[in-house]
Amino acid sequence: MTIAERAFKFGDDINTDYIISGKYKFKSTDMDDMATHAMEELDPDYFAKVKPQGGILVAGRNFGMGSSREQAPLVLIHSNTKAVLAKSFARIFFRNAINTGLPVVECDTDLIDDGDELALDLEAGVVHDHTKGIDVPFAPLPPVMATLLADGGLVEHFRKHGGFAL
């Protein structure tokens, strides 16, 4: 699967309160509504910019640190964020992203800038940065996680197999 989108660049240690503040999380389970607040602490226009055309969120170290809220990957999905690239991820966010079907890739993001046109090839393990004319390689996901992501997340995996088939 290749995901071709524009890069939206953020820094290190983006915590789940920045992705979606707790004050919204507890109000409902309507992710389309909640998604309008995605990343607003860091960029109040994130939703408005990413929603029409889609995008790939690019970050530094420790993306998704903090709470276990699954609303974090869900609001990104519902804001039309197609994937997240980061130098490293907090582990609960990483699991939640795979479980909800949001591709997450650990790679060197230093050379990628905001607005770059990217093409992410999950199987080949490479991000093409067309703006810069560079390729950033990454290690493909371990088989268990690749299976869950390919199935469209853990719910779809259960629907397909009636339980864990890993």
Partner: protein, 426 residues
């Protein structure tokens, strides 16, 4: 005699629950002993559970849902989410702890749902708290929680372990919170990501079970998957009268392999604070003394236990909260609330000027019960000080021990608690 290296607590508990020899780096599917969700995460878990087509819980006695994050409900939208949880409980037999029962991470061990040697998951990042009780407990998202509720198992990557060895006695006025804030400052917010922490040493041995829980609670603030400790005589004594399950303590092997070792000299760790807006922005209290505060908060899964209330009440007895300062107290559970009332602690705190709210998470997580105003400084016993954490993006949150919070609300500024303890400086 086997020449294969020994195992950490994490490797042993995961091996036992996966039915295989599991080592750091392996991915295993393991049976879980308990699954928990709270009101910020359970509604999504219930939705995922239903979408999975699950017919029922793997074992109704091993699932609990706790209404603690917005409790009692401050909004009609939240009320609807609580209803979803209550109805799920009726339908499936899952235990629902309703408003007033307390914070999930106090209730789950307090009610004896987990015992040493267990593997459990909770839909809340601070589920790592029960590591202090020798439980491999870790936070997961709602979909993982749903899968575990349905199947009674989940996949785990067996983590590498960082061994933290704390030796010596904490100085008077310093507590386990100060030790873990200091450690978070040293390791950083991602210093233990994908890994487990295993705490040992004479400092840990000397701490009460409650004080140990404060340390394990904050393992996630360094990115850790778990914050494990051995179960000793104190742990087993703590379990007296808490349910019918039998603890099966797991010790690390003497030749267990650790990816790193962090020595801590507790004798040198004075009161610490985490400055805004990250937990690893830790500093000795001297750096921030005199910073004016508008609000103090005593409570949470980190520091809302009996001992924490007792320490604060000890300092506030016969004294008053400064004019212009709001002091909010939330006992971590109903049982703690009752015990604190019986011991006179609530009387002391309220006489000093505290506003006591329902046991729960509201002030910490910003849902209700004390959202600070723009530009205000807050000193809190919680575990997170991220921007927006308490329900508003524009205050400045400092994290500290119950003693430091109590000393600070008296002065209306961040104050050194050592003045109230033997060997105090003033």
């Amino acid at each position: 005699m086997s020449e294969i290296a020994g195992k950490t607590i994490a490797e042993k508990i995961l091996s036992a629950h996966a039915g295989m020899d599991a080592r750091a780096g392996d991915i295993v599917v393991a049976d879980v002993d308990f699954v928990m969700g709270q009101d910020g995460t359970s509604p999504l878990a219930i939705r995922a559970f239903e979408r999975m087509g699950a017919e029922g819980l793997f074992d109704p006695k091993k699932v609990a849902l706790v209404i603690d994050h917005s409790s009692p409900s401050p909004l009609e939208g939240v009320s609807a989410l609580h209803t979803i949880m209550r109805e799920f409980g009726k339908r499936t037999g899952a235990k629902v702890y309703d408003i007033g029962c307390g914070v999930c991470h106090q209730l789950i061990p307090e009610q004896g749902h987990v015992v040493p040697g267990d593997l459990m998951v909770g839909c809340d990042s601070h589920t790592c708290t029960y590591g202090a009780l020798n439980v491999f407990s870790t936070g997961v998202g709602s979909t993982d929680g749903a899968a575990a509720m349905a199947a009674g198992k989940l996949w785990f990557k067996v983590p590498e372990t960082i061994r933290v060895v704390a030796e010596g006695e904490l100085p008077p006025g310093s507590f386990s919170k100060d030790l873990v804030l200091h450690l978070a400052g040293r390791l950083g917010a991602d210093g233990a990501t994908y890994k487990s922490l295993e705490f040992s040493g004479s400092t840990i041995d000397d701490l009460s079970v409650e004080a140990r829980m404060t340390i394990s609670n904050m393992a996630i603030e360094m990115g850790a998957k778990a914050g494990l400790m051995r179960a000793d005589a104190k742990t087993l004594a703590w379990y007296e009268g808490r349910g019918e399950r039998t603890p099966a303590p797991v010790d690390p092997d003497l030749d267990a392999v650790y990816c790193d070792e962090v020595p801590l000299d507790a004798r040198t760790i004075g009161p610490h604070v985490a400055k805004p807006h990250s937990v690893d922005n830790a500093a000795p209290i001297e750096e921030v003394l005199g910073t004016p505060i508008a609000q103090g908060f005593l409570g949470t899964c980190t520091n809302g236990r009996f001992e924490d209330l007792a320490i604060a009440a000890g300092i506030l007895a016969g004294r008053k909260v400064a004019d212009g300062v709001r002091f909010i107290v939330a006992p971590a559970s109903r049982r703690i609330y009752l015990d604190a009332m019986e011991a006179g602690l609530i009387q002391t705190l309220v006489e000093a000027g505290a506003a006591v709210v329902t046991p729960g998470c509201g002030p910490c997580v910003g849902t209700h019960n004390g959202v600070p105003s723009d530009g205000e400084n807050v000193i809190s016993t919680a575990n997170r000080n991220f921007k927006g954490r308490m329900g508003n993006s524009n205050p400045f949150i400092y994290l500290a021990s119950p003693a430091t919070v109590a000393a600070s609300v008296i002065e209306g500024a961040i104050a050194d608690p050592r003045q109230y303890f033997e060997g105090g400086e003033r």
